[in-house]
């Protein structure tokens, strides 16, 4: 992890010199960027995410497969020239299906990560800024949300309303904004006592302006970090739901449903129906977690240096 950048023993002379430059240049964003880039795992994470996005969205343009009509004479075929990763129980090409499945995972992950974090940011900033009774009520709402068991709720909703991509995103947002809201609220509690906030108040600045101009920009680090963790989480929950059979219908391939279908054939030794999907999920989620972790450290450094 980024602990490398913290321990003096591991930092070589060259890097220390760069650190000196940053002091001089003074731009907090440049410092964040530099600390982030120094973290090798973060770079690995970014590269993996870019590759997965290209694989899912550009891949199908280069590697044409039919993911709509089952091919019942070519089921459960082991990897070969025609099908690099073999075919599944309906004769779909696994490599092509991984690309299709990636689309929904990435779309859901990005949409949920961004919408939930932005909503949580606004909610937490308002709650923390006003404090008192407003804060108490708003935070109890968050507590209630956190006490509702997510996967249980999802299975219930999926069983009552047939899920679509949109419904899944809405549901995931409903459970994902809680943590960012709580984090931002905690930061706002300390930010609102800062001198510059007091100064704006004395000058007659309205609450809305203080929140928008002084609170939110200062919590941006937390938000950037939670976005990445929320994306990772959303992809994981989606994979769990699909595996349990409570997700998008079979016409929309996802990594989770591929894994779920493939598991049936684990005993038969059809490894290509299980492990490529599993590996793709794990690598993608690990990559987002790497990025989140590195960003967390990078923003920590910014706070320390200021």
């Amino acid at each position: 992890m980024a602990m490398e950048s913290f321990t003096p023993a591991k930092v070589d002379v060259e890097v220390q010199a760069e650190g000196g430059d940053v002091h001089a240049s003074g731009s907090p964003w440049r410092l964040v960027g530099r600390t982030f880039v120094q973290n090798r795992l973060a770079i690995v994470g970014v590269v993996i995410v870019v590759v997965v996005i290209l694989f899912s969205f550009i891949g199908p343009l280069l590697y044409h497969t039919d993911q709509f009509n089952p091919n019942l004479i070519a089921t459960n075929m082991s990897p070969s020239g025609g099908h690099p990763l073999g075919t599944d129980q309906s004769g779909f090409d696994i490599l092509g299906r991984l690309m299709e499945g990636g689309k929904s995972s990435i779309e859901v992950g990005l949409a949920v990560g961004i919408i939930a974090s932005v909503f949580g940011l606004l909610y937490g900033a308002v709650s923390g800024f006003f404090g008192g009774a407003v804060d108490a009520v708003m935070m109890r709402v968050v507590d209630i949300g956190l006490a509702v068991p997510v996967v249980f709720l999802f299975i219930f909703m999926a069983q009552v309303y047939k899920p679509t991509l949109g419904l899944l995103i809405v549901l995931l947002v409903l459970v994902s904004w809680l943590i960012p809201a709580r984090l931002v609220r905690g930061e706002t509690l300390s930010l609102r006592t800062r001198e510059y906030v007091q100064a704006v108040r004395v000058m007659g600045g309205r609450s809305g302006r203080i929140i928008a101009r002084h609170i939110i920009p200062n919590t941006i680090g937390t938000i950037v970090v939670t976005v990445t963790f929320q994306i990772a989480n959303a992809i994981l929950i989606l994979a769990v739901l699909q595996y349990l059979g409570f997700g998008l219908p079979a016409t929309t391939p996802t990594w989770g449903s591929m894994l779920s279908d493939g598991t049936t054939y684990l005993q038969d030794g059809y490894w290509w129906e299980v492990y490529p999907a599993l590996l793709t999920i794990v690598i993608t989620v690990v990559a987002f977690n790497f990025i989140g972790d590195a960003l967390q450290d990078a923003f920590d450094v910014r706070l320390q240096e200021r």
């Binding site: 006490a147 509702v148 249980f152 219930f156 595996y243 989770g256 894994l259």
Partner: protein
Amino acid sequence: MTGFIIRRLGEAIIVVLGVTLITFALLHLLPGSLARDIIGNKASPQEIAAFNKANGLNTPVWNQYWLFLDKLLHGNLGYSFQYNRTVDSLLASELPRDIVLGGLSLIFALAIAIPIGVAQAVRRNGALDYAGTGVSFVLYSMPQYAIALLLIQLLAISFHVFPAEAPQSASAIGMLEHPAGLVLPVASLTLVTYALFSRYMRSSAIDTLAQDYIRTARAKGLPERLVLTRHLLRNSLIAVVTLVGLSIPTVITGTLIIEQVFNYPGAGLEYFNAALRNDYEVMLGITVLVGVVTVLGNLLADIGYAILDPRIRY
């Protein structure tokens, strides 16, 4: 201290009420009507009216919520019209078996996470630290069922060491009498829980290592072994309280998934099967129960932490 406990208790009650309100709303918003579901499509309007009256469904919504709360307060989690049994009686036989699975996994996860976390903190940035962080990252990034699948592939299919299905005994004692069948479910849930604990345990041990009393202990010449056991380990154990409290949702959700994978007879599998047969009251009864247990876990963790660490004052 008393003030803190009372305030925290008050918050917990509000949160539990909120959870019941959400579950009630979900039950209420279900499409179709309960009467049609239970007495069938051919029921006459009179029969439906009689059913609604008998079950209080003809009263205003707030009154129905009150009836729902009243039932919950009396420990009545609902009624499975498909099994013609109360949810309580369904759960009575399953919860002890869940406690076997969840409890064993929790104990094992702590037994692994505490020493490894301390070792990682002491040898920070060493080979063990990187290996430990790598393992926990991968475990953390896996869907819970994937860990179970890998264990099944390795220990049940490739090498026939342990069976891939949990014992199907009627009682908790019966489950313990078949330890071979318990190994894979418990190991899977242990790893799921460990993934959550390891990162927390490591950073908490690192924080403790930076404390003045550790430096004092070293400065006065205490052997490193004693510094670690008497000062570091003991203070890191405070984190365990928080961990156990916070891990309750993960352990319960993990239980749902692990039970489905291993066909382990517990409340999680019951929930899953209830979902497949559209038995909504069973689903919501279990959801309320999980919500209450989560709130209780957080409450106990907060109070336990305040008692164990007298520096903490709210």
